[in-house]
């Protein structure tokens, strides 16, 4: 009885009403722009639809069965994992090194360097990709000029299928480096100076200091960067799309990533149901990876 009256009191309380009033529009908007399209995509993945013909027959799991046997989907999965893994490992490794250099006590203009490294991150993917496409130009690109200075033969950075994925990884690393460097710098600045002093008194220096003090205390930031980079790199599309445009662009299969494959199936071949199945699988992959990383983050915390 007492519980019920408390409950009804709580439901009618101004705070409760205020909370409902504030949350309802947010939840409604989120449902409309997120939950409904996701639900619609999952629904569509069990149908065959070409976008133009109104007929949309139910075909059960056929899209999924076809997808797991599709060599292009397999290539896209492989390329996405290679791109995501390499770009995360390389960009975080370099960013950590840069952050350590920039946070040395005698380092001057550290914040200016941080700003310079961060600039690419705030520029949109499309202009960045266009600029890099010029840099990768086999005849007039700066990269071939630079490697030519040390006697290396010019390379078809984008047009050669053996190099094109790595050319995109270089671009991704370059763009994401700034954010990781700034976040690592913040993490380093937050490590209390007493820890370093105590460690130095105990005789620790160099790699020992890094392994026993810096790295453990940077783990939350490292894990955060891992989660964010995984989500972003699995959904990468714009640079790949721009880099493949035109006769001097990268070959599609060599740089085929999941979202690019999905886009081609949906808007080039008009296999909307098939693309929806692909989108659903991509959602599951990113969800599983994120959950794994969140669990490890919670464990570390």
């Amino acid at each position: 009885m007492l519980k019920e009256s408390r409950r009804s009191f709580k439901l009618k309380s101004p705070q409760y009403i205020f909370t409902i009033c504030v949350l309802t529009p947010v939840i409604a908007i989120y449902t409309i722009i997120r939950i409904v399209p996701i639900g619609g995509t999952i629904f569509l993945s069990f149908h065959k639809w070409d976008l133009i013909n109104p007929a949309k027959p139910f075909i059960g799991l056929r899209n999924y069965i076809k997808l797991v046997h599709d060599y292009l989907f397999i290539i896209a999965i492989r390329n996405t994992f290679v791109l995501a893994l390499l770009s995360i490992v390389i960009s975080l490794g370099i960013a950590l090194g840069l952050a350590l250099i920039l946070n040395r006590r005698k380092m001057r203009f550290a914040s200016v360097y941080e700003l310079i490294y961060f600039l690419p991150f705030i520029i949109s993917w499309v202009p960045l990709a266009v600029i890099w496409k010029w840099m990768y130009d086999p005849t007039y690109g700066i990269l071939n000029y630079v490697i030519g200075l040390v006697g290396i033969r010019p390379q078809g950075w984008l047009v050669n299928p053996k190099l094109s994925l790595y050319s995109i990884i270089i671009l991704v690393v370059w763009r994401n480096l700034g954010l990781a460097t700034v976040l690592f710098s913040v993490g380093l600045k937050n490590i209390p100076a007493e820890y370093f002093d105590a460690a130095i008194v105990d005789g620790a220096s160099g790699f020992k200091l890094f392994r026993n003090i810096i790295f453990p205390l940077l783990k939350p930031i490292t894990l955060y960067l891992f989660v964010m980079s995984t989500i972003l790199n699995f959904a990468i599309f714009s640079p790949v799309y721009v880099m493949t445009i035109g006769s001097q662009g990268a070959p599609g299969n060599a740089v085929r990533v999941l979202v690019y494959d999905l886009y081609e199936n949906a808007f080039r071949y008009l296999h909307m149901g098939y693309a929806a199945a692909e989108a659903t699988l991509l959602l599951l992959i990113v969800l599983v990876l994120t959950l794994v990383e969140f669990r490890s983050m919670r464990y570390e915390a």
Binding site: D50, L51, I52, N53, P54, L72, D137, P138, T139, Y140, N144, R153, P154, Q155, G156, L158, V159, N160, P161, K162, T244, I245, G246, S247, Q248, G249, A250, P251, G252, N253, A254, E264, F267, R268, Y269, L270
Partner: protein, 437 residues
């Protein structure tokens, strides 16, 4: 007398009322605003479209036509999403394999009798009629078309002791070997021929088509039942791939380390390459001093070129069909055909245009219309699946071109071709278009 006066006055009043009514109708008709939207995938054509709209508005001040041009692939996505939802344009232009999807879906208005007669007249060819027809009705009028030719750099050819473009495969190989150039370190700085080796999309297959067709093959072949199957899992297909591999790795006349396509030609980084007439406009703009010419494609077992008309369609969403079709007809006036050629380099589809003055200025254009006896034409079949066939095959070709191990390896080449052909047939099966040979 009074009666006569009354009758006269009544008659005058009646005539006045009728005149006013008629004037009112005319005024209201004149005031009736008509708005049409027009989409194209050729931004370089925008000045031509704007000029046509401007001239049309002088004759019909009540008609507003909103012209929007997008990149080719972009306009295809927009059409696919907007036409079925009736949010697309009233009029649009695209090649038959894209437009035909909407014809089959029932979203396109058939041509009125006057335009149907025009299409079937001598102004166009039966080839154009075929690309605009579906189940006995016609749905589009072609405005301009892509015609493939061989562009060759006169100065480079003369320096190598050559006076004309290659006319056979043997000449092509021989000329390319003479024209390729390397620096002191052995790095290629100029390709003998610029082959399409990369880029996503169907372009790689399209350029390979120019070699498989003369060899006797094609990309997809129509069966007597009206269905399709691959047309390259044969000697022609194997020979065309072998030609590419030989040019790349036996004769080393092209490579990944040099620039390609029209840009390379304009910059002098290649001696020859195959492309459409828009290259003439591109060179006029970017390399006006380039000494070059255009020639018909080399012969092998047969002779011909790839011709793809750009059709103009009126959608069922259009509320002013009379005006829309009138505008479509207006666009085809010969003076706009010449303007199209001069402005963008795209060749008009109609055959009754006198190009004498243009040929004097730009003789390179001759190769696009002056075909020798027996020179054939082939183009994209009007099936939606062709884009998927061409794009997926292009990826296989791109991968094959990197394989040096295919040199003098007939089994390897046959395997690449057979696997690609199987994929082509599977795409056709999935689309319900496959027919046995």
């Amino acid at each position: 007398m009074k009666g006569k006066h009354r009758k006269l006055i009544s008659l005058l009043v009646m005539v006045s009322i009728l005149s006013m009514l008629l004037m009112g109708v005319t005024v209201s008709q004149a005031a009736k605003k008509v708005s049409l939207s027009f989409w194209s995938g050729y931004p370089e054509m925008e000045p031509v479209f704007n000029k046509i709209v401007e001239d049309y508005r002088k004759l019909h001040p009540n008609v507003d036509i909103d012209v929007s041009t997008y990149k080719l692939r972009e306009v295809e996505r927009k059409l696919a999403v907007s036409i079925p939802t009736r949010t697309g344009p009233d009029i649009f232009q695209r090649m038959p394999y894209i437009g035909h999807r909407f014809v089959e879906g029932g979203y396109i208005e058939p041509l009125p009798p006057e335009l149907d007669t025009l299409l079937k007249s001598k102004v166009f060819t039966p080839y154009h009629v075929e690309f605009a027809s579906h189940k006995g009705k016609t749905y589009a009028l072609p405005m301009f078309q892509g015609v493939e030719v061989m562009f060759w750099n006169r100065d480079m050819f003369y320096d190598a002791g050559l006076v004309h473009a290659p006319t056979t495969w043997e000449e092509l190989i021989d000329y390319a070997k003479k024209l390729v150039k390397s620096d002191a370190a052995g790095n290629m700085v100029r390709s003998g021929i610029s082959l399409r080796l990369s880029g996503a999309g169907s372009g790689v297959t399209e350029k390979w088509w120019f070699w498989v067709w003369p060899a006797g093959g094609t990309i997809v072949e129509k069966t007597p039942t009206g269905k399709y199957h691959n047309g390259y899992n044969n000697q022609a297909g194997r020979e065309a791939l072998k030609l590419y591999i030989d040019l790349l790795y036996k004769y080393n006349v092209d490579g990944y380390e040099v620039k390609h396509d029209a840009e390379a030609f304009a910059l002098g980084a290649t001696a020859m390459f195959t492309r459409e007439s828009w290259v003439v406009g591109y060179i006029n703009e970017h390399a006006p001093n380039l000494n070059y010419d255009a020639a018909i494609l080399p012969e092998y077992r047969r002779w011909g070129t790839n011709i793809n008309p750009e059709n103009t369609y009126v959608t069922k969403k259009c509320k002013n069909l009379d005006v829309a079709f009138d505008f479509v007809k207006f666009m085809l006036k010969p003076e706009y055909g010449k303007l199209t050629l001069e402005t963008s380099g795209w060749f008009p589809a109609r055959r009754d245009i006198d190009y004498t003055s243009i040929f004097k200025e730009t003789p390179q254009f001759r190769a696009f219309v002056e075909f020798p006896e027996g020179y054939g034409a082939y183009g994209y079949p009007k099936i939606g699946a062709i884009d998927e066939v061409m794009t997926k095959f292009a990826e296989r070709l791109v991968a094959a071109y990197t394989r040096k191990d295919l040199l003098d390896n007939p089994e390897g080449i046959a395997k690449v071709i057979a696997e690609a052909a199987e994929e082509t047939d599977n795409i056709l099966k999935e689309a319900g278009l496959y027919g046995e040979k």
